[in-house]
């Protein structure tokens, strides 16, 4: 079980308020991702749940029990750190066994659990090595192994993949998702990478300056962003945001349109501009269009075979039903 409830929690460092009053519920078995730009308080929020930081006020409950004053060791949560935080003086086996030893578990049971975790994570051949002798990906697996042997109420991941190279990151992303499918344990995952958030989460919590901007499933956030911040943050490349006269035509302060909802052609559309940089991904091409008179740059997604060149004048047609409208406070209309 791992239902985590935050009620009206705040966190201040000295006089700086990092987390203004905040409420959040994470359901049992849910894969929740905290996402936001750096300094948005997402790691602090995770550390408050872990108990590594004390809340300034408010209440943290785990499975209905008040855990606000419970030290991290007693919360029954496991954490995977960005730096892996393995014990460098212990073998992989001892690293994974450490939480079980701390729980004074029977040695036979410890061996059984360590070996089963090593089996799941493909670490069996490395059990007697030290962390220093492992690659980044293997170290991250050891850190995950150390977390899963305890069968915790919830897993906390603090940007676990940001030290890995791009290819490994995609692989580990799948492994963690796979692990969640198998264990069905609550997972809270902090990242600044919206692609990780979109691909892994059951529920995304978008944070800015300690505030929750929106909570919802990845597609909810993508299709109906509550404000311009979420609209701009979720989705890659970013949603195009247009102010001024064009927005006023739609009775809004700002309108947003995703790159895939603009059609690019030689002529005939209501908007026009000059092609700048084109990014060819093979399956898709992203055109950055300048001089549209709407925004500095508009990003447009087209098929891989569309071949406009730098400096070409093109015509753009937005899909009318895919427009997002926002008021002068940036809120969705």
């Amino acid at each position: 079980m791992g239902r985590i409830t935050l009620e009206n929690i705040t966190k201040s460092f000295g006089t700086t308020e990092v987390i203004p009053p905040l409420d959040l519920t994470i359901e049992d078995g849910e894969f929740t991702v905290f996402v936001g730009p750096s300094g948005c308080g997402k790691s602090t929020l995770l550390r408050l749940i872990a108990g590594l930081e004390d809340v300034t006020s408010g209440k943290v409950s785990i499975d209905g029990t008040d855990a606000t004053m419970v030290p991290p060791a007693k919360r029954g949560l496991a954490m995977v750190f960005q730096s892996y935080a393995l014990y460098p003086h212990m073998s992989v086996r001892k690293n994974i066994a450490f939480p079980l030893r701390m729980a004074k578990m029977d040695p036979g049971e410890i061996t059984r659990r360590v070996e089963s975790a090593a089996d799941v994570l493909n670490l069996t051949d490395y059990l007697d090595r030290r962390p220093g002798q492992l690659s980044g990906g293997q170290r991250q697996r050891v850190a995950i192994g150390r977390a899963i042997v305890r069968e915790p109420a919830a897993f906390l991941f603090d940007e676990p993949l940001s030290n890995l190279d791009a290819a490994l990151r995609v692989g580990m992303r799948l492994e963690i998702s796979e692990l969640h499918e198998r264990l069905k344990t609550t997972m809270i995952y902090v990242t600044h990478d919206q692609v990780e958030a979109m691909t892994m989460a059951d529920k995304i919590v978008v944070l800015r300056a300690g505030h929750i901007e929106q909570v919802g499933s990845p597609l909810d956030l993508y299709r109906t962003p509550r404000n311009t911040f979420v609209a701009g943050f979720i989705g890659s490349p970013k949603m195009n945001l247009i102010d001024g006269a064009e927005a006023a035509k739609h009775d809004a302060h700002t309108i947003g349109i995703r790159p895939e909802h603009i059609e690019v052609s030689e002529a005939g559309g209501p908007w026009s501009g000059v092609v700048g940089v084109s990014e060819h991904l093979g399956s898709d091409t992203f055109f950055h269009i300048h001089d549209t008179g709407l925004a500095e740059t508009l990003t447009v997604r087209a098929g891989g075979e569309v071949g406009f060149r730098h400096g070409d004048r093109v015509s753009l047609t937005p899909r009318a039903d895919a427009l997002h409208r926002f008021d002068d406070k940036g809120l969705r209309l």
Binding site: A50, L52, P71, P72, A73, K74, L77, A78, M79, F81, Q82, S83, A85, L86, Y87, P88, H89, F98, P99, M102, A103, R146, R150, L156
Partner: protein, 276 residues
């Protein structure tokens, strides 16, 4: 690009390094050589460097006149115990300053270091009176405590610098893994800090071993360590250079050997944190 080092330049550098090393080591070398001379050769003018009648008689006389082993034992006890006691106090102190610093931590560290700038003789009188009142004069316990206190700032500073290098996330991981403060210190922090603790212990054994001011002033017979052993061969005996040198050589030999075998560890300890 790396700086190019020509063979010539390298040779000059090597020669310079040896020259500086020899100049620094020369007094010790001279003491050792003198200890093997007769008294007459020891004061010969011009001085004799290597071509004299090598003799062990000074060592025999010194051992006959005073019980070297008793002084040695006192030195070992005082240096060893004061270091262990200091480390036992220093580890928790450095831990709290490195991992749960307060606004005043930096000030406390500087204040502790400032006590090392106080001339020792300035507090000799009060400490002497205290020792008389507490019956600690000429006792190993008293000397151990005083020397421990004198070296404590250095112990805490060294351990603090080491602990600062240990990533806090590892200790947090231990906390998440269910370790209490005691388990965290025993299973995670201490094993990771072993090289640092070893350097600290080594340096402090040497400092305590060499400490002369307090050992000479607060001991007479029972607790007198090797520093007092050397001193007993100076002025009152007249200028018997050869015997004095023999006594000195015997006093510094153990620490010289210890230092020789642990020099790698020592250099690492003293320069730790300078580059990362």
């Amino acid at each position: 690009m790396a700086r190019a080092v020509t063979p010539r330049r390298k040779a000059v550098n090597t020669a310079l390094a040896w020259a500086v090393g020899l100049i620094l080591f020369f007094p010790i070398l001279w003491t050792i050589l003198t200890s093997f001379k007769t008294e007459a050769q020891a004061i010969a003018d011009p001085p004799i460097f290597l071509f004299f009648d090598w003799t062990l008689e000074n060592y025999a006389i010194v051992q006959e006149r005073s019980d070297y082993m008793r002084f040695l034992w006192n030195s070992i006890i005082i240096a060893g115990c004061s270091t262990l006691l200091g480390v036992a106090i220093g580890v928790p102190a450095a831990w709290s300053m490195a991992f749960v610093p307060s606004k005043r931590t930096k000030d406390i560290l500087l204040w502790m270091l400032s006590t090392k700038m106080l001339p020792a003789v300035g507090v000799l009188y009060p400490i002497y009176i205290l020792f008389i009142q507490l019956g600690l004069l000429d006792s190993r316990v008293g000397l151990t405590v005083v020397i421990m206190l004198i070296n404590l700032p250095i112990i805490i500073w060294m351990l603090y610098t080491y602990f600062k290098e240990i990533p806090g996330e590892i200790l947090e991981a231990a906390r998440m893994d269910g370790a209490g403060l005691r388990e965290e210190l025993i299973h995670v922090l201490t094993p990771m800090a072993i090289p640092g603790i070893a350097s600290t212990v080594l340096l402090n054994v040497i400092l305590a071993w060499n400490e002369a001011f307090w050992t000479l002033n607060l001991t007479a017979v029972d607790a007198a360590p090797l520093t007092a052993f050397i001193a007993s061969y100076s002025s009152p005996e007249g200028l018997f250079f050869a015997k004095l040198s023999a006594a000195s050589t015997m006093a510094i030999a153990p620490i010289l050997i210890l230092g020789w075998f642990s020099q790698k560890q020592l250099v690492r300890g003293l320069t730790f944190g300078a580059v990362k």
